[in-house]
């Protein structure tokens, strides 16, 4: 049991450190393709943390859907937009917004950290990890059946919306050049 707890701590320490570094790189990197790759690293390290917590199926979904589908979508969009210019500095033109963003982030983290550290979490009634795939299926397809079905409608709507929005209009010129 002790070795198991130590393993979880080690996994969390290593994956958490990688996660934060890659996240910072993904946010502040000017090159969007590098940012997308950093996002993959962040998502994979989060999947490792989920594995450490004992949620194998969630880790698999995280890798498959997030690191797979979503980031591939990002990469394709970056390739399509490779000739569209971002502004040179990479951040907003006003320095005030830079300052505001940093201040918001620091204040937000301070507030959350204070709430987390000072607040008292209710004691777990039965600490354990019911990660049985049967339990997940039961929750997803029985207890949360309606949200599950609504999600499928949402995905269909998003699919149609994405096609309509990104479609080339016949009246428009091909990418206006300048």
């Amino acid at each position: 049991m002790d070795a198991l707890v130590n393993a979880e701590q080690g996994i969390f320490a290593v994956a958490g450190a990688i996660c934060v570094l890659a996240a910072a790189n993904a946010v502040f990197r000017k090159d969007t393709l590098a940012a997308a790759v950093s996002l993959v690293v962040t998502l994979l390290s989060l999947a490792v943390i989920y594995l450490g917590l004992g949620f194998e199926f969630l880790a698999a979904v995280q890798v498959g859907v997030y690191a797979g589908a979503i980031v591939v979508l990002f990469t394709i969009a970056i390739m399509i937009l490779s000739h569209a210019r971002a502004n040179e500095s990479g951040t907003r033109t006003g320095r005030r917004l830079d300052f505001a963003g940093a201040a918001i982030a620091v204040l937000l983290f301070a507030l959350l950290a204070a709430a987390i550290l000072r607040g008292r979490l209710p004691v777990a009634v039965a600490p354990g990890s019911p990660t049985d795939i049967d339990a997940i299926a039961d929750a997803l397809f029985v207890r949360f059946l309606l949200p599950f079905e609504v999600t499928s409608v949402l995905l269909l709507a998003a699919l149609v919306a994405a096609v309509v929005l990104a479609r080339k209009r016949s009246s428009e010129r091909e990418w206006p050049r300048r």
Partner: protein, 99 residues
């Protein structure tokens, strides 16, 4: 590992994502930052699920992932449309609707 460690990591990731949304002018970087914030919330839900031995947090994480997929599809379509009109993915240039 105490639950607070996971919550603190989630808070840190969320703050990083919030900073990115405010500071970055590149619409693609803003979307990456939003993904980061969604993942931070997911980590918080999963940590709570672990602590209480209930699966509900994990189920919410599944739904968040599905919603994130929909959000990225629509968001990237909008970015591509904006780039087609302005030849730029700079959000400060997409100001047609500002009075």
């Amino acid at each position: 590992m105490p639950t607070t460690a996971y919550l603190l990591l989630g808070a840190l990731l969320f703050a990083l994502g919030a900073a990115g949304v405010v500071m970055r002018a590149n619409a693609l970087s803003m979307l990456v930052s939003v993904e980061l914030m969604l993942n931070a919330v997911n980590l918080t839900f999963v940590a709570a699920a672990k602590r209480f031995g209930e699966l509900d947090g994990v189920i919410v994480a599944f739904f968040v992932i599905a919603v994130a997929a929909a959000e990225v599809a629509v968001g990237l379509a909008i970015v591509i449309d904006v780039a087609r009109r302005h030849v730029s993915v700079d959000v400060d240039r997409a100001s047609d609707l500002s009075g």
